[in-house]
């Protein structure tokens, strides 16, 4: 397991002394380019797990290694997107996507000099998610699905090695959600970053991930690990196969057991 990209070992995390552990004894490892999904009931510490991977939160106990180094602060090689697109309303789609490049090195120091190059790159990225012609629109002029696409582009523009997604499609309607699954699948296929997807949606997890982890309710522990053996590339049709339904039902049963326990 020494070649793992992300290695989480026996990690506890408590936000303060009073409320107890948000997650407890979490152990998992991810290979580079792996796509994992974390599912579980509400408030089970899935988002906490994400903050742990990004370096925004330190583990109270145990160790988190990313890329062979212990995590001790913000990682800069991560990109994040959330349920809300959290775009800046005073910036156009393009300028929103460029934001990380104004923050993170090595882009930051030559941002003004290379703005043209970066803008071309950002426009290219926006095109690849189907937003050609919307680069100079403001967020409020875009639909919810388009805003979420911009948000994902913003998370990817600095070519992060680790993409952290916290229920990114939860606020979208079913059809838009399925479209964005494919968008994410294609981006991941092309750029080969590592993904942690936190979600409630078992079909989403099954369709996209290589491995699904099921978390218990608070304090969150990992109860099960399920490798998804569906062949890639996966098309939306795969959702309607028996094998797919079987995996989803299996995951669903585990969640059901947590809830009734």
């Amino acid at each position: 397991m020494s070649d793992a990209f992300v290695e989480v070992e026996h990690v506890d995390l408590a936000y303060d002394d009073v409320s107890g552990n948000a997650i407890e004894d979490v152990t998992l490892s991810m290979q580079e380019h792996e796509f994992i999904a974390v599912v579980g009931p509400s408030g089970c510490g899935k988002s906490t797990f994400m903050k742990l991977c990004s370096g925004l939160r330190r583990a109270s106990k145990g160790s988190v290694m990313v890329g062979g180094r212990a995590v001790s602060g913000p990682l800069k090689i991560v990109g994040m997107a959330f349920q809300n697109a959290t775009l800046l309303p005073w910036r156009t789609a393009l300028d929103n996507v460029l934001l990380p490049l104004e923050i993170v090195e090595p882009y930051r120091s030559n941002f003004n000099r290379s703005r043209e190059t970066y803008a071309r790159k950002a426009i290219e990225l926006l095109r690849s998610v189907g937003l050609e012609g919307y680069e100079h629109r403001f967020p409020w002029e875009l639909s919810g699905g388009m805003q979420q696409r911009v948000s994902i582009c913003r998370a990817l523009v600095h070519e992060p090695k680790l993409l952290l997604l916290d229920e990114p499609f939860a606020a979208l309607d079913a059809f838009t959600r399925e479209e964005l699954w494919c968008t994410l699948r294609d981006l991941w296929t092309r750029h080969r970053f590592t993904v942690v997807l936190v979600t409630h949606d078992l079909r989403e997890a099954t369709f996209l991930a290589d491995t699904v982890y099921v978390m218990s309710k608070r304090p969150g522990r990992i109860l099960a690990r399920r490798a998804i053996d569906l062949p890639r590339p996966r098309e939306l049709d795969a959702i309607y196969t028996d094998h797919f339904a079987e995996i989803v039902r299996e995951l669903r049963e585990r969640i059901g057991r947590i809830r009734s326990a």
């Binding site: 959290t86 005073w90 934001l99 409020w140 916290d166």
Partner: protein, 258 residues
Amino acid sequence: MAARQRRLEAWAPWLVLAALLILWELICRVFHVSDFIFPAPSAIVASLSQYAGPISGHALQTFWTTMAGFAIGVVVGVLLGVLVGSSRLMYRTLYPLMVGFNSVPKSALVPVLVVWFGIGTIPAILTAFVICFFPITVNVATGLATIEPELEDVLRALGASRTDVLLKIGLPRSLPYFFASLKVAITLAFIGTVVSETVASNDGIGYLMMSAGSQMRMPLVFAGLVVISVMAIAMYEVFAVLERRLTGWATRGMDARA
């Protein structure tokens, strides 16, 4: 239809103003109200033109005094707002103090300022300043304190410093709040100046109204009132225009309807 509606909306305030003035004039004439009690608009206008020279001198004094106090208020207000809005500790420490200070009637401060600085321009500037900085501070602080935590996470995960977050998100985000507060603050600053001039000055519209009032020259008092309102409304409009120019993204709904 839409064009007519829009024209009506543009003219409506002026029509109402004209109607009010006509009504006012009529009441004064029909009931023979004395100028010493309640001057008719015509008497006020006459007084305005008769004393145009002295009035404009005093108006200029009031105007630049207000602007000086307002400028200090903006600088102090923004700095305090940034301080209070970006740190929980500062918020807990300073906010109760500022609320307490703000609840002191500012007119009660004027005698104190007079003892310290003598009568004239300086107490007027200071009164305008202390009366107008608070709304600016509160608004800037609110804008900063209500940043979505997720947005901050996105930047912090990239290694952004607190200054980065402030410059890239905090300040642009609080701009609409800031401009909203400027519109309140500028009118307050005029009040501060005039209050101070009324009590302790030999210059400015406040002094003019005070001395005209003591001589029972009511049309001149009202002329002073008119001049102050016109200046305050003009400055308000200046900031309203700036607001629309710079933070159109925040009021797009209103613009679409207007």
